[in-house]
């Protein structure tokens, strides 16, 4: 008898969605919910903001980007949650940190006012807004990720901070069009275990369903490792035809064509 997966849920934590959402990164959470519905995997999404307690465990954590002021506001609260998040990252919980969230998941961030914000050290990287000021990195991005054949990742970047990876960090992707972490070394984002940091908006997950599926597969694997009862067939269904996947792949190809033509 097959077990009903609806008994158990994938645990998704979306961090500071009401504060860090200026670039509409909540689209990542919407895509997770839509894809999980296609997979018939039930998800339990917790919106965690300033002052809220993290749940006792999670399979997937999402965080987006925000303005300087909002970043400074969440950074203190995030530090209090840093220990748990670091432990989760080490335990193969899937994570996606975008833009300002990515910066705060690094070691530290020096913002446009020269203020140092301490990060939570999930990724070995530091981010700086150059003292020269007005040199935001803005525009369409096409990158190539060598991680598990994820391939082409498209999106839009808009950031003042520039990120530099430490010696133990791996980039998430290599830039083909756009700036990426700093516009100099050709790297985009960072990857550690099941955690991805990136500068890409779009939102990045609906527009890159292979990355969405990669994170979901890792989240499901994490849930299974925690709780053997979870429907392991979900991992197989992930490779079947998906309406969202088809629409995403079509959009990704067309976007990359448009962007390359504009070059």
């Amino acid at each position: 008898m097959s077990k009903s997966n609806s008994l158990l849920s994938l645990r998704v934590v979306s961090l500071y969605e009401d504060v860090l959402n200026i670039y509409s990164d909540r689209g990542n959470r919407l895509a997770v919910e839509a894809r999980a519905a296609e997979l018939e995997v039930s998800v339990d999404v917790e919106l965690i903001s300033i002052g809220d307690q993290l749940p006792i465990d999670a399979d997937l954590v999402l965080i987006g980007g925000g303005q300087d002021r909002e970043q400074a506001i969440v950074s203190m609260d995030l530090l209090a949650k840093g220990g748990t998040l670091r432990k989760w990252a080490a335990d193969d919980v899937a994570m996606l940190a975008v833009c300002g969230g990515f910066q705060l998941f690094g070691r530290w961030f020096r913002n446009s006012e020269g203020v140092f914000l301490k990060g939570i050290d999930v990724f070995d990287c530091v981010s700086i807004v150059p003292a020269s000021g007005n040199s935001r990195l803005v525009g369409d991005v096409i990158s190539e990720s060598s991680i598990d054949n994820l391939g082409m990742i498209v999106g839009y970047e808009n950031h003042g901070g520039q990120t530099f990876l430490g010696s133990s960090a791996l980039p998430f992707a290599k830039i083909q069009v756009g700036f990426g972490n700093n516009g100099v070394d050709g790297t985009e984002g960072a990857r550690r275990n099941s955690c991805v940091g990136t500068y890409l908006h779009g939102s990045v997950l609906p527009n890159n369903s292979q990355l969405l599926d990669w994170l979901l597969a890792r989240a499901i694997a994490h849930r299974i490792s925690q709780d053997g009862e979870f429907d392991s067939m979900a991992l197989e269904r992930i490779s079947e035809y998906s309406e969202l996947g088809a629409a995403s792949e079509y959009a990704r190809k067309l976007t990359s064509t448009i962007v390359r033509e504009e070059q």
Binding site: D18, V19, I73, A247
Partner: protein, 473 residues
């Protein structure tokens, strides 16, 4: 003006006019910006010289949403009171658009010394160019509508826009306006009200006061707002987006009681009925507006307030507003064969949310919809914002859903994420417009929701078919 400067000024205006003429004859657009561009190239100071001619009788309207609609209402009020009105009514709202408006008006408004006394100017001004433009033109009235996220790729972050407005108004070299008109319901605009009070500039606030039209959380832009002191903004209730009855949880500021208050709002499918209360005055003004949506109410309140600042009592503005016609491409209707095509402009998450809310709450259901997403410079190159608009509320409320525009693929993907069934998606706007009109049952309405450049293209096509003159005429 010295003779050389005068000649250069005249030359700039003349060549600008030629450029507009050739653009209209040979090009597709109306040449609404090109003449200003050319004139500014010949005479960089052209704007300052124009503003001298206009002798400060200038109203600026700025904000993320509602600039064109509000400016149009103000113009119609002033016209009804006997003024000739100069405006950049075709929506070209950078410095060059203002110069262009002046140039193109030379035919219709005779700016001779005799007429100048009755000449007023209403300019909608892009959020980012307000400081530069107001330091050159020293407007008499400045209207601030609202401030939410729009085209981050072009403007940068919202906070920097708000502080640039405050800085420009507190600049010592600037002549203070006679009146500031500010939306009381937007906490991000409170620093302007504060500044007006501290500098004894007459400050007229406007806002809503009818809880029956408050939004559920569903259609809000999902964002927490912060006071400039860093604390959370609390809301007693929200009307749309960040607009509502707010107070700061940290310092003692709160939404002021609006001077021009919509005390009762009734939204119907083809009109809005309002009761307006004025600060310190016993009588209530009744009026009916032939527009839809709560955002139109804010435009009306802003226009009444601006006219008040200009010396026209609100009771005298009502007739102009009741007879006001819509502005091009905003809720504009065309009858094509037996199908009504209605064009809605939506260019940022808050604007789109309000259009979707208006459609699902007041239009005839189920809807026939053509959604258009372009990524031109004027639309914004970054289309991520569609993920902050609440497409989910369309579920079960449409029977035809088509996507088009240069980013139709991103738009239809957004619809799939929202669990909606897209009938067809293709970047060819004219093809999809024809197809959608064909598929809309006779006597029903095709609602076309589009970003700016799509609106221009669609409107031009529909106008041509139905014999309505192009927008620059």
């Amino acid at each position: 003006m010295g003779i050389f400067k005068l000649i250069r000024f005249k030359l700039a205006i003349c060549l600008g006019k030629c450029a507009a003429f050739f653009s209209q004859v040979f090009g597709r657009g109306g040449g609404t910006a090109i003449s200003g561009l050319v004139a500014t190239f010949i005479e960089p100071n052209v704007l300052r010289q124009i503003s001298k001619i206009l002798s400060r009788d200038v109203i600026f309207v700025t904000g993320t949403n509602g600039k064109t609609g509000t400016s149009s209402l103000i113009s119609q009020i002033l016209r009804l009171k006997g003024s000739s009105v100069l405006s950049n009514s075709s929506g070209s709202n950078m410095a060059r658009g203002v110069v262009s408006a002046y140039i193109s008006s030379l035919d219709t408004v005779r700016i001779s010394k005799k007429h100048r006394k009755r000449l007023s100017s209403v300019f909608e001004v892009d959020e980012a160019v307000v400081p530069g433009l107001s330091s050159q033109m020293d407007p008499k009235i400045e209207v601030f509508l609202n401030l939410s996220r729009d085209q981050l790729d072009r403007y940068g972050e919202i906070d920097s826009i708000a502080s640039s407005w405050v800085q420009s108004l507190s600049s010592e070299s600037k002549i203070a306006p006679d009146a500031l008109v500010v939306n009381a319901d937007d906490s991000k605009l409170f620093p302007l009200i504060d500044l007006g009070r501290k500098n004894s500039i007459r400050t007229i606030t406007f806002g809503l006061g009818d809880p029956s039209v408050a939004s559920g959380n569903a259609s809000d832009v999902h964002e927490r707002d912060f006071c400039s002191c860093g604390s959370d903004i609390r809301y007693e209730l929200k009307y749309m987006g960040q607009l509502g009855i707010w107070s700061c949880s940290g310092c003692d500021i709160e939404r002021p009681i609006p001077d021009v208050l919509a005390a009762k709002v009734t939204l119907e499918n083809d009109r809005i009925i309002l009761k307006i209360r004025l600060a310190g005055q016993p009588e209530v003004l009744d009026l009916t507006v032939h527009q839809q949506g709560l955002y139109s109410v804010y435009n009306v309140l802003a226009a009444i307030s601006a006219a008040w600042g200009y010396g026209i009592h609100p009771a005298d503005s009502i007739r102009a507003i009741e007879s006001a016609t819509g502005v091009f491409g905003r809720q504009e209707e065309f009858l094509v064969a037996n199908v009504k095509a209605k064009v809605w402009l939506a260019k940022n998450p808050q604007g789109l949310n309000e259009v979707l809310r208006t459609l699902t709450e007041t239009a005839e259901l189920p809807l026939n919809l053509l959604l258009v997403l372009n990524d031109g410079i004027q639309d914004g190159k970054d289309v991520s914002w569609i993920y902050d608009a609440n497409f989910e509320i369309l579920e079960g409320k449409y029977k035809l859903l088509m996507c088009s525009g240069s980013r139709s693929h991103n738009l239809s993907l957004r619809c799939v994420v929202a669990g909606l069934d897209v009938g067809m998606s293709d970047p060819d706007i004219m093809g999809m417009l024809d197809f959608s009109l064909d598929r809309t049952p006779h006597t029903e309405t095709l609602n076309i929701v589009t970003t700016y450049t799509g609106m221009i293209e669609i409107r031009e096509n529909l106008a041509k078919r139905t014999g309505i003159p192009p927008y620059w005429k």
